[in-house]
Symmetry: none
Subunit: 71 residues, 5 copies
Amino acid sequence: MELHGSLNMIGYGLASIGSAIGVGLIFAAYINGVARQPEAQRILQPIALLGFALAEALAILGLVFAFVVGV
Amino acid sequence: MELHGSLNMIGYGLASIGSAIGVGLIFAAYINGVARQPEAQRILQPIALLGFALAEALAILGLVFAFVVGV
Amino acid sequence: MELHGSLNMIGYGLASIGSAIGVGLIFAAYINGVARQPEAQRILQPIALLGFALAEALAILGLVFAFVVGV
Amino acid sequence: MELHGSLNMIGYGLASIGSAIGVGLIFAAYINGVARQPEAQRILQPIALLGFALAEALAILGLVFAFVVGV
Amino acid sequence: MELHGSLNMIGYGLASIGSAIGVGLIFAAYINGVARQPEAQRILQPIALLGFALAEALAILGLVFAFVVGV
């Protein structure tokens, strides 16, 4: 049987599905907000970056977690 | 057979799909609300952070749970 | 049993689901914003490209990760 | 047991789910934008094609990746 | 165990999930656009068919790919 590879890679793949969709939703809302009120970009940028960091953190945690849990 | 890794990592991956999409939805709604009424940011911020904490808690619980359940 | 291949390929496949949907959401919002206000393209382009890079990064990380974790 | 085939094909299948949905979102926004302002087609076309290329790239990467990772 | 068949068929099945959703999104936007402005059908038809071809290509690639990767 030639099956090889690591189950951790599947775990990381699953973890990054949600993060990437979440980042897409946040930036889509950011773009829509700036398109409606270009002068609001100053207020919206830190909110978008905060949301991005919090959503992306779960995938990065999964990346670190994949190296920690027994390989 | 060269298959290695931990099933716990897959469990964490599944747990974080929903959390990350939820965080994305919450911050997208927060950005849209602030873009429409910039003066409402003071009211919306604690609501968004509360929703973020409740959605993210499930993935963090999964992270802790993966270390507790027999590795 | 003739089953062969690498589990890492499945992990990459999963990782790219979310990234591609996220990129789609970001560009859909970008197109909608430009269609509503063509003069806003100058402001929206860097935001769309920033969001694209941050969402795509998770799939590229998965691509690199697949070569690092034991093949 | 007569099960045969390659796991890489499953990985490619997963990778193309997100890309096809992303392409669908981008062209849906493109069609909506042109339906609202037919004269904006000249500006929207390169944006739609750029987004299409960036979203589709992940599936094509998966196609190439499937031949590289040990078959 | 009488289980037989090819994993490649599962991969093609996964690949066609996204394509079908993407094509559905594109034609839904096409129908919405024509419903709003019936005179715009002449402009929207080639866009819808282009988007349809690009989204469907990923599933057709999967069909071809399933015959190439070791059966």
